[in-house]
Symmetry: C2
Subunit: 220 residues, 2 copies
DNA sequence: TGGAAAATGGACCGGCAAGTCCAGACTGAG
DNA sequence: CTCAGTCTGGACTTGCCGGTCCATTTTCCA
């Protein structure tokens, strides 16, 4: 619902979120700000961006309208962006420690299970995907958040592949980065499809096929 | 922007789009309806669902408010759903004739190029993905459209794999459906990532790795 | 050709949700 | 203690946008 409305006002004021010291000066303020972001994240997961109003967030977090605008002067978009960053940070954190330790086939399998489990539990709302529709590709911040998340995620996977390679488990001829990119795409697509259809078959197929592809190169 | 607003009114009236003979009785009516859907699709692609109002569509299609509600009595959601169906139909059609003729490696390559080209051209708005956020998983129709699209798409790919198999180009031991699901997930994810980051690397990696995976089983 | 059904134009309504504002309560450094 | 800066409450404004309504024109077919 923000949409055009929000776009208008955003253009009108043109203030952007400043990353450095965006936190409030006092401890109480910082706590409130954090409460808002976390509460907003909850609400957004439950209802989806399109159906969430500032009042929903306000009541969930036990804050007042003025607090929302005190901590996020640029309004809803700025808050949404903060939530997006919050969620993006969770994505990789939730995959640890496995994602950082992809050195044996067993680890890969555990990571695979973790990813499936995590997204099956998440249900049918992608906090990051939806954020996009609201803020739009036009936003400088939004794209950066996702791009960085993808970069790190892919880097973790690629590192895992290189570790396998170093351990002699896969062929050195394998292009680790490209394979990691493909696997990441498979995960993304699997999740997307699961969101839409409620079926995790594709996610599992993507992960299993991707890992199998790796395993197969061991022979080569 | 419809969102809560639309949800409210949708609940209030509760009418649904009736598929059979949803077309207007007269030729002129049918033409107008089609013009609306096509025009709406254009606008939605350009601006994204979140930023598109009925007035945008109205002015683009040269129609009046009453026409919109005449052809889509349930309002914006019904129109959005019609556009979704329209776009969904395009997705597979745009991949023909290659998608239906995946019987040689060359065909697969041509199809791969077509998919990459199609989505690179499409730019950064996924008409179907966004439709979801607006109408939501709760909608009976929306999920059905995507589920059916995925089913058909996957079926086409799987059939291609079986053809390769019949031609002795890949191992009969290969699970065609699972492999097709994985490849489809890769495409979806590649497109998603491209939408967000503007980079088609992942899409290409997913397609190439998937096809390479197929090729490799030829040996086994 | 007449009249019923369909199609169209466009003024109007109502409510909702983002954003504003100011008064008052807290906090913390000097 | 005190006072400047921060934080909080909540009433209020604004204008957008989905949806309604009815008058008018066009189409169709008997």
């Amino acid at each position: 619902m923000a949409d055009a409305r929000t776009a208008r006002s955003r253009a009108a004021k043109g203030r952007a979120a400043k990353d450095p010291a965006a936190q409030a000066p006092t401890a109480k303020g910082r706590a409130t700000r954090a409460r808002i972001v976390e509460g907003a994240a909850e609400v957004l997961r439950e209802q989806g961006v399109a159906f969430t109003t500032l009042d929903d967030i306000r009541s969930r977090t036990g804050t007042s309208k003025s607090q929302l605008f005190h901590y996020f002067p640029a309004g809803k978009d700025e808050l949404l962006l903060a939530v997006a960053q919050f969620e993006a940070d969770r994505v990789l954190a939730d995959q640890q420690p496995h994602l950082g330790q992809l050195d044996t086939w067993e680890c890969w399998q555990q990571w695979r299970d973790l990813v499936v489990e995590r997204y099956e539990r998440q249900g049918d709302h992608c906090p990051l995907g939806s954020l996009f529709l609201q803020v739009g590709r036009s936003s400088p911040g939004a794209r950066a958040i996702v791009t960085e998340l993808m970069r790190q995620w892919q880097e973790h996977i690629a590192r895992g592949i290189r570790t396998l390679c170093a351990n002699g488990l896969v062929s050195p001829a394998l292009d680790a980065d490209r394979t990691a990119a493909a696997l990441l795409a498979g995960i993304q697509g699997g999740v997307t499809i699961m969101m839409s259809t409620g079926d995790s078959t594709h996610l599992k197929a993507a992960l299993d096929t991707g890992i199998e592809h790796l395993r197969r190169t061991a022979v080569a």
